[in-house]
Symmetry: C2
Subunit: 660 residues, 2 copies
């Protein structure tokens, strides 16, 4: 039956199946013809490095110079007591060299240069992360609490001792029962007008201060957050200075401190728990910039409303979040440097009779490392923007900057966790060895996603900020806002029409404006729909907290969409500023990859909303793979440009060896 045979053959052909010759073809034949991997882009690695070091280059150079000192080498970190002492010694040496003066060179707020401090912190994070966190606790959180919550008398008295590390300090905010929800801390600071003193007390077990860095071993004083009670009135959370240990290191009367014990990582930081038993401190110890108590026990504050005052004081946390976001990015850079260099060195599997392929010549390996590489570059530009906004913040945009810091802290730290996991797996067993550093990077940064604000909580903060802003638009100018919204939607229609939703040419797929329009559309749409859903619930009489809880996943998605749009925007701006054609090409390609991979990972959502059609999703997937292949020859140069010092990297597999 030749006709049936022919018909079957045609069917098989169209179904992608075939006869015995294809079965044979599944067994690799001895015809090695290595595919073209493209050629490296021509650019000057030093020039790229300069782009990444564009802000505060002197600070970066200074910290790199400190780290070049042979004193800064990893030691065996399994003996916790020794490790903590080592970290303190490193920190002291850095303070002696001026690390503590970077944040506030003249010891007052007007001279504060937190941008330089964050940059120092970021660069320091190529080295030991316990040192970084200890520096952050003392110079960052403790120092900033005095700078921002205290007044001149505190600045004069304490800041010089902060800068020199003569007076190691703690930031005692979290309690066992109150981690994210700081407003409900239970520690009490009652004013005793007769004695002119505050009495600090831990009323319940859940009120004990928990996770306090520097407390278990070295801290001599703490900024303690407590409910202020004056003349029987509870005035909300305020901060005051409470000495913990005498100069010899002995814990003071009324104070009990316990070690939190071994942690997954960061064991060079001495986290502790603190209980206060009616501890008395002089009235001057209240950090009284936003709320004052005079000798007679009269409370005054320029800020009316406990809630507003509370959020104003929490503003001090923002610097911490900016710093953690930056430190996380450095850890991601270290991890990628190790994995990309190893992927370029190690070979495994290949065509029969020919040399094995390098890991990075395997398609899946390119995707698993180069997509995160692009995102890491994107984050670099986004964090520059965050630091700039933070440094230039005013009272007017303070809340916006806070939200920005919250969102980027969450996005950056989640990215780092994901990158380091991918890097570890991409290095196989070698990635599992302590000697190759990925283990420590993972363990040390794992808590970044939940400390300095739990990421899930921070993202809800971002979403609530967006909702407030959304409604504000309509409050401010109703007509304009409605028209603007309609116009935005009309623009969206351009991309949502069937023709655009099906365009699959490479030029179009690499059009950054197109990526940005997509991410903007998603953000606006998620904002409008979640707003509608909340409103519906409130109208139906659902209690407000519950109404928000019922759309929590939606809120988190909105926050994610917002941050992603913002990161892409900043990456685009950063690339636009680059003049050198070689750099522009390679950074542009990374930017294309970041933008397009955002669309790829959210392709379900975009299809759901008519922005993408199936054929286009296929084309995007293909283009992402192609971009990875194009970037492959530049991969090593791109991680080299991060400029992680070899002594900090310290991973044999990241330094040209197959194993330690």
């Amino acid at each position: 039956m030749p006709e049936l045979t022919r018909a079957l053959a045609q069917l098989e052909e169209s179904l992608g199946v075939s006869g015995s010759e294809a079965v044979r073809a599944l067994v690799p034949a001895a015809s090695p013809s290595r595919a073209e991997q493209g050629t490296p882009t021509s650019f000057d690695p030093e020039a790229l490095r300069a782009v990444l070091d564009r802000t505060y280059p002197e600070t970066r150079a200074q910290v790199r110079q400190w780290l070049a000192d042979p004193a800064y080498r990893y030691t065996d970190t399994r003996d916790t007591a020794k490790y903590r002492d080592q970290v303190l010694a490193w920190l002291k040496a850095m303070a002696d060299h001026g690390l503590g003066r970077i944040a506030f060179p003249s010891g007052n707020e007007t001279s504060a240069d937190l941008g330089a401090f964050v940059t120092a912190f970021e660069t320091l994070a190529y080295f030991d992360l316990s040192l970084v966190i200890k520096a952050g606790v003392h110079f960052g959180l403790f120092g900033a609490s005095i700078l921002f919550l205290g007044t001149e008398k505190h600045h004069r008295k304490y800041l010089p001792q902060v800068a020199s590390l003569e007076l190691p300090g703690c930031f005692a905010m979290s309690e066992l029962g109150h981690g994210s929800n700081v407003r409900d801390v239970e520690t009490v600071a009652r004013y005793d007008a007769e004695a002119g003193e505050f009495v600090v007390h831990t009323p319940t077990e859940t009120a004990r201060k928990e996770w306090i860095g520097n407390a278990a071993r070295h801290g001599r004083i703490a900024t303690v957050f407590a409910q202020l009670e004056v003349g029987g009135r509870v005035l909300g959370v305020h901060a005051l200075l409470v000495p913990l240990r005498d100069p010899a290191g002995k814990v003071l009367p009324g104070i009990r401190i316990e070690d939190c014990g071994e942690k997954m990582g960061l064991n060079g930081v001495d986290n502790g728990r603190i209980w206060f038993e009616h501890v008395r401190v002089p009235r001057e110890n209240l950090l009284d910039r936003f709320g004052q108590v005079n000798a007679q026990g009269e409370y005054t504050s320029a800020i009316t409303g406990d809630s507003k005052r509370f959020f104003t004081m929490l503003g001090t946390l923002v610097a911490g979040r900016v710093s953690v976001a930056a430190a996380a990015l450095s850890a991601a850079k270290s991890g990628l440097t190790i994995a990309v260099r190893y992927g370029d060195l190690r070979r495994q599997f290949g065509p029969a009779g020919d040399k094995e392929f390098r890991l990075l010549d395997h398609q899946a390996h390119q995707r698993r490392l180069l997509v995160p590489l692009a995102k890491t570059y994107a984050m670099d530009f986004a964090l520059e923007y965050l630091v700039e906004r933070y440094v230039k913040r005013t009272e007017e945009d303070a809340r916006e900057v806070e939200s920005l810091a919250a969102g980027l802290k969450a996005y950056s730290t989640w990215h780092t966790t994901a990158v380091l996991q991918e890097a570890r797996e991409a290095c196989g067993g070698q990635g599992y060895l302590q000697a190759n550093r990925l283990a420590a990077l993972k363990a040390d940064t794992d808590v970044f996603t939940t400390f300095e604000g739990d990421n899930t909580v921070l993202m809800q903060l971002v979403a609530k900020g967006l909702l407030t802003g959304y409604r504000q638009r309509f409050e401010d100018d109703r007509v304009f806002a409605v028209l603007k919204l309609l116009a935005d939607r009309a623009t969206a229609v351009v991309d949502r029409n069937p023709f655009a939703a099906r365009r699959t040419d490479s030029d179009h797929l690499r059009d950054n404006d197109y990526h940005l329009r997509a991410l903007r559309f998603r953000e606006e749409e998620l904002l409008a729909t979640v707003s509608k859903r909340i409103r519906k619930r409130l109208s139906a009489g659902v209690e407000a907290f519950e109404a928000f809880n019922q759309v929590q996943v939606h809120l988190l998605e909105l926050a994610h969409a917002h941050v992603e749009r913002l990161v892409l925007e900043q990456f685009l701006k950063g690339v636009a500023d680059v003049k050198d054609p070689g750099l522009k090409t390679v950074l542009g390609r990374l930017c294309d990859l970041y933008g397009l991979s955002c669309l790829e990972s959210a392709n379900g959502w975009f299809q759901e909303h008519g922005w993408l059609e199936g054929t286009k999703v296929k084309a995007i997937r293909k283009e992402v793979t192609r971009l990875c292949a194009e970037l492959r020859p530049d991969a090593v140069a791109l991680v080299n440009a991060f400029g992680v010092p070899d002594t900090c990297l310290a991973a044999p597999i990241g330094l040209g060896h197959l194993s330690p």
Copy 2:
């Protein structure tokens, strides 16, 4: 202008924005009215526990009884030397109690009961994972190599000493340069006919044996995989027994061993590197079941073809993969038990003026823990199927079982990594403390995704197996296969028609047949399209290895789709077998959640292929959230049913405390 005002109001309404009252509504009001969380399903937790313990209940009870002994308590694991000795002592005690005899009670292959062994291994994995891996190396890999690759003389001589742990053994397969690609190991075993001995040698640095468990400290003998050379002919990879240390523990002449050093986790296992310098062993030491060398130096083998022989010998690895998949699942259960119980205990945030919500009453928290909980239950049934297939395997289905083990090992271990990460973050800072066990669980299991076969490599093996099977169908009966394929596609059309693609009622969304049809359709479609793509490349003259590399990501997606379909199928079968109505309800709900969450996470793909439309995706998302809320009241009972012994769990936050 009342008309404009009215028009604007309407527009605002439809856009989900509103005036000042909504801004006020954003601030939680004091009207607490806790939403209904539903009521717990009525089922007997012990009966559920019995369902999970359905296979080899005696073995499970036996190992649980061993673990109840106070000797099995976690010790400080930071002193590696002590830790290793402790693990050896535990292992010896278990061997004395009969652990080593579970796998081969009468010391030969016919009596082998690997199902019981895997079950023992799975139960043991509630406790210290170094002990589990050390047991796996010695009893599992080393013991199985003698059992399956050796012949009667080896069984008689060695198995009793294996069972008693008198002769601690290693499985020396991996080399520095050859991890996944075992076929290219470089170690040589040359037969010296005059002396009647094999000469084992490490010819290059990349040929050194690497990661060998039990080698650094305790191993006295090793099954060494080497290229067999007989009379100048290279016959491919074979295994032979090479003594490493004398009974006093002294390393034998010609052998060099180095410690691999500290690892991220599993530091109770003494991994080492081994070099052989022309080490001589008697001819009898060749494990000669599949290839024999007689005294005259004549090689014989019943298996023609080096490649086939190689894969036959690699079959011994399958038991290891089955065991790792099972151990990974136990670790996931431990992690979920901790996180779910803590989530039910810890409160944070809540309506103004009312009690704070338990973490598990927050919508996002339900999703992050209960979707993985459903998948963990699904895996339990899938692994039962794997063990059964493995135990009953024949020569005919050996390759299929291998592929099954490869796929489920990868799926299970990736699941565990993801679950433990989620659990750690869900427990916030408490999850970061060593005392709360998540740190150790994460560190110990992290390597599971890349040892006993790198997951990415294993998934490619699965995909290639599917491709071979796909073509085989057409080889066997061309007409039938084509018709069958067309019929399958026609069925798919039922679900792909616009009506079905838009159905959003709950009954339909919880129809397991619908989930299964979806996953089958995806698998078939990915198989057909990747087959077509490879064929296209081969026809165009692309070298075979390169052709596969160009569709690597597609192959991995196919393997994932295949495994997911298979897991759902087994979960459904398992639930169908349950008679008790209460159990059926709660397991059915978990099954709905697993099936639907598979569709949700792949919703982009399903939309791309016309299986889902936007409105249905929305409905699925809503239904997944609803299922999580329905399961919420049963969450604690569902993790309790895992039956992780409290002494093994050993995490204060998993045992009713807010902190250690």
